[in-house]
């Protein structure tokens, strides 16, 4: 039964008509009234920048906040591989329904039909919009757009710009945002961090932000506040997120009443550069697109793996018949392009069994040799070379590989010092994305009226596992094509609300609370750095709430985190002062929030007695080691309400599948 606290507001009617009908009937705000309505947007990534540009174009007064020095540096910039859209340009049988179906199945049947169908529907408009504003996607010689495949699909629906798709999409959205800044419709607050949500009688009315250069706290009123602040993967310390990526905006909202949904649904990406030592500050992704042409393997024989670890042999010394292409072996239908959760677990399984190939034993190979030769032969044929020698074939094949993945290969070489054209890459799974986030209804509004969450900051579309190239799609869908409509259903009732002066007692109180928590951090004057605590938390999370979880581990993680949190508030040292540019203070506030969130992630994982998508509970698996869902008892969204004293109450939203017949998720 869905909890009485939850109303997802999915429109009635059949799936194909829901969004169309909604758009035609949602209340509107006339242009004159839009000019008096103020919207605050926190975060300037794909969701935030696209929402800011679109809402400002409609006439709303918009303020955008980001902690970076420019909106262009939001972490969407680092997305590599691509963006999905059901264009069916390749004539390979794609459709809105198929994208919808792949996404629901990819998420292991833990997302809403209504939201995901809408996402698939608007996906095509995103590509149109991006091309129109000058995003230079990859093209074929005929001048039309090129596509490639991503995991969990059997069609080619991914649009891309080399390995820098996120960069190009973000710079597109950013250019739209800056156009509005230039015309005075958007006021930009870079180097500002939101530190609280202001509510008046349960309705969201603004935020408290800190100017990171001067340290001054500021009060900002808004008729609506949109949190587009990204995911919380940095709870693990090591992740592919940017160093500054954090949960603070979402967490402050949570502590002001917004429900936090499915916090334990974390995506561990299978292809990242392995950890090289204790100094490591972050992990680097190698795009999923590489699995189009890279084959994943480990040695069949343990003694070969041992020799590799001890650097006594090179990967190319291992004969073809002694290699285990374990994804192709276990999942012949999807092969190397199984979804991320499946590929990550399979890598862990092989490494745990003693087949890891680097000095730490936590790495597998991603090998391009086979497809380099294949491309080389194709090129030779094109050029009419009938009996090419091996050197020629390799040379021509490498040129093709370079054209497709050049920047990724360069990045790999810079980081590891190893040339991946000569030797296979070594990769291992790493924390990459969080499917969980603030609970939102169909309008993308949290349960706090006027407070919205878009993009990775919300929980809505990816269930328990996100498919590759779908984060960019969702971020831009939310910002360009969903919020401009859905915000009208709320703001049409707000046209009589005059801007509330920020000397209102609610603003003063919120600012005072922020001020005292900053003062409290400085007052500790302990002996340990913020990073000390962050790294400790990260290890607990990775070992006990990472790729595999179990009851015992989660229980001990919860008490360890509680203990660590206590220690943090007694022993942390924050240098400098509050009235200056102070990166250590920023980090301290963020880690304090991670120390609470980490506990909730473990609690959520502990309460979900099943395995689904990225959430793998060791107690619940099939004989073949696949995730075993329990639809009878866990086909719900777990939405947690924050209670006094770092405690939570669980509310459930039942997931209803009217259109998809849910089944065991198989990629075999």
């Amino acid at each position: 039964m869905t909890s009485s606290k939850i109303d997802s507001k999915i429109p009635e009617g059949n799936l194909e008509q829901k969004w169309t009908k909604y758009r035609s009937t949602v209340p509107l705000v006339n242009p004159a009234n839009k000019r008096t309505l103020e919207i605050i947007i926190v975060g300037s990534g794909l969701a935030g920048a696209s929402a800011a540009a679109s809402l400002s174009e409609l006439g709303y007064k918009v303020k955008v906040f980001c902690f970076q020095d420019s909106a262009r540096r939001a972490h969407s910039i680092a997305a590599q591989g691509g963006i999905n859209a059901a264009k069916n340009y390749q004539n390979d049988g794609d459709s809105t329904y198929r994208l919808f179906y792949d996404t629901i199945k990819g998420g292991d049947y833990r997302s809403r039909e209504g939201n995901v169908y809408r996402l698939a529907e608007v996906s095509t408009s995103i590509i149109d919009q991006c091309v129109a504003i000058g995003v230079p996607f990859a093209r074929e010689y005929g001048g039309l757009l090129s596509n490639r495949s991503f995991g969990g699909t059997q069609v080619q629906r991914t649009f891309y710009a080399a390995g820098q798709t996120g960069q190009q999409l973000l710079l597109g959205a950013y250019s739209g945002l800056q156009r509005q800044v230039g015309s005075g419709n958007v006021k930009m607050y870079a180097r500002h961090e939101m530190l609280d949500v202001v509510t008046i009688e349960g309705v969201c009315r603004g935020i408290i932000a800190r100017d990171l250069v001067t340290g001054k706290l500021e009060r900002h009123f808004g008729h609506a506040v949109l949190l587009c602040s990204g995911g919380y993967g940095n709870a693990f310390f090591l992740s592919t997120n940017a160093m500054g990526s954090n949960v603070t905006a979402a967490w402050k909202a949570h502590k002001k009443g917004a429900l936090f949904a499915n916090p334990c649904f974390t995506q561990i990406h299978p292809t990242c550069i392995p950890v090289s030592g204790d100094h490591q500050s972050k992990l680097t992704l190698m795009s999923e697109s590489l699995r189009n042409d890279g084959r994943i393997w480990v040695p069949k024989k343990q003694e070969d793996a041992k020799s590799l670890r001890e650097n006594r042999i090179k990967p190319n010394d291992i004969k073809e018949e002694d290699r285990d292409y374990y994804l192709e072996r276990r999942y012949p239908a999807f092969g190397n392009l199984v979804p991320r959760d499946v590929a990550s677990r399979a890598a862990k399984e092989r490494c745990d069994a003693g087949f890891g190939v680097n000095k730490t034993g936590e790495a597998v190979f991603l090998d391009f040799a086979f497809n380099t030769l294949r491309y080389g032969h194709i090129e030779a044929t094109k050029k009419g070379i009938h009996n090419p020698n091996e050197t020629q074939v390799i040379e021509m094949g490498r040129a093709v590989v370079k054209e497709k993945y050049g920047n990724l290969f360069d990045m790999y070489q810079q980081i590891t010092g190893v040339n991946p054209y000569d030797q296979p890459m070594m990769i291992y799974p790493a924390v990459h994305y969080t499917m969980g986030g603030l609970w939102v209804d169909y309008n993308l509004m949290t349960n706090v009226p006027g407070l919205y969450a878009l993009g990775e900051a919300n929980f809505s579309d990816h269930g328990s596992n996100r498919l590759g190239a779908s984060a960019l799609m969702q971020g831009l869908a939310d910002g360009y094509f969903v919020i401009p409509y859905t915000i009208g259903s709320y703001l049409s009732n707000e046209i009589r609300t005059k801007a509330i002066p920020t000397d209102h007692v609610a603003f003063a109180e919120a600012e005072q609370n922020v001020q005292s928590s900053i003062d409290k951090l400085f007052a500790i004057k302990g002996t340990k750095s913020v990073d000390y605590f962050h790294k400790k938390l990260g290890l607990i999370m990775w070992n006990k709430c990472g790729m595999a979880r179990n009851e015992e581990g989660l229980k001990s993680a919860i008490s360890e985190i509680q203990e660590l949190r206590k220690q943090f508030w007694n022993e942390v040292r924050v240098p400098g002062s509050k009235d200056e540019f102070n990166p250590e203070l920023e980090k301290a506030g963020r880690v304090a929030d991670f120390l609470e969130l980490g506990e909730l992630m473990c609690k959520d994982a502990l309460s979900r007695n099943e395995s689904c998508g990225g959430h793998f509970r060791e107690e619940y698996q099939t004989d073949e080691g696949e995730a075993m869902r329990d639809d009878e008892n866990f086909k719900y969204v777990a939405a947690w309400e924050y209670m006094q004293g770092v405690n939570w109450e669980l509310h459930k939203e039942d997931l209803i599948y009217d259109n998809i017949k849910i089944a065991a998720r198989s990629y075999k």
Partner: protein, 260 residues
């Protein structure tokens, strides 16, 4: 990229001379630090993490520096190392690894030095001038929802590739820092080129270049004297030919009556 031999991990002891400046109005000075036992597998920023952890433990103020993605794409990590933006390799500071240095080296680290990029603290500078230049014209004025089908206008692959190569600019400001005139021509021309190469960019072509150049001048960036240091230091290898293209675009716009 040419094949490099595998360099095995080892540890370095280094002398650092780091620019310390409390805030914009402080005069600033170099301070010297010794860091020991630095793994050659570390990135340059991870070496700074080690230094900061130590300063923190000694009760001193850590060095402030901008950084975020640490994978060479956000453009934050502006450090001027041994007289070159981002140091000895043509990459970002976060992608510079300590295997590029030798045991016993002295490394001098400064912020970007350019009048339009005032220092905020230590190695952190204010690059908002770049945002204002983009706001002046670095866009295509198409509102959300107006677009036709993405494949309606074919674009020759060569033009799309060239446009992409210009669009790969990460807005780090190394071009300005490298230039003896503190010119922003490479940055501005990359955006002008990206959009001038695409049919979608045509309607605003003349207005764009005029307004972006005007804003660039208003921000106080210097003129271009064709030295090419910008492109030589650019971590994304943005080509100098973009500047030539921008000059052509500017002349065409200047000479045509409809842009006045």
């Amino acid at each position: 990229m040419s094949s490099e031999k595998i360099i095995m991990e080892k540890n370095l002891n280094l002398n650092l001379k780091v620019w310390r400046q409390k805030n914009a109005s402080d005069k600033g000075k170099f301070e010297e630090y010794k860091v020991n036992d630095i793994s050659t597998d570390m990135s340059f920023l991870e070496m700074f993490d080690v230094l900061n952890e130590r300063l923190n433990n000694e009760g001193k103020d850590p060095v402030a520096f901008d950084h975020d993605c640490r994978e060479g794409i956000c453009g934050s990590c502006s450090m001027y190392i041994n007289g070159r933006p981002h140091g000895p390799k043509q990459t970002t500071t976060c992608q510079l690894h300590m295997r590029s240095f030798n045991d016993g080296d002295t490394i001098v680290v400064e912020p970007w030095r350019a009048q339009p990029f005032p220092v905020i603290k230590d190695l952190v500078v204010d690059r908002s001038a770049f945002d204002r230049i983009i706001s002046s014209g670095g866009f295509i004025s198409v509102n959300t929802g107006n677009a036709q089908d993405a494949n309606a206008i074919p674009i020759p692959k060569d033009a799309a590739d060239e446009s992409f190569a210009a669009a790969a600019c990460i807005g780090c400001g190394a071009c300005v820092a490298a230039c003896k005139n503190a010119s922003a021509m490479l940055f501005v021309s990359a955006k002008v080129s990206q959009l001038a190469l695409l049919p979608q960019g045509m309607p605003e072509r003349k207005k764009r270049v005029m307004e972006m150049v005007a804003q660039m001048d208003a921000e106080g960036f210097g003129a271009c004297t064709n030295t090419g240091a910008c492109s030589a230091e650019c971590p994304k290898e943005i080509s100098l030919s973009n500047i030539a293209r921008m000059n052509r675009e500017y002349i065409v716009a200047e000479l045509s009556s409809d842009s006045k």
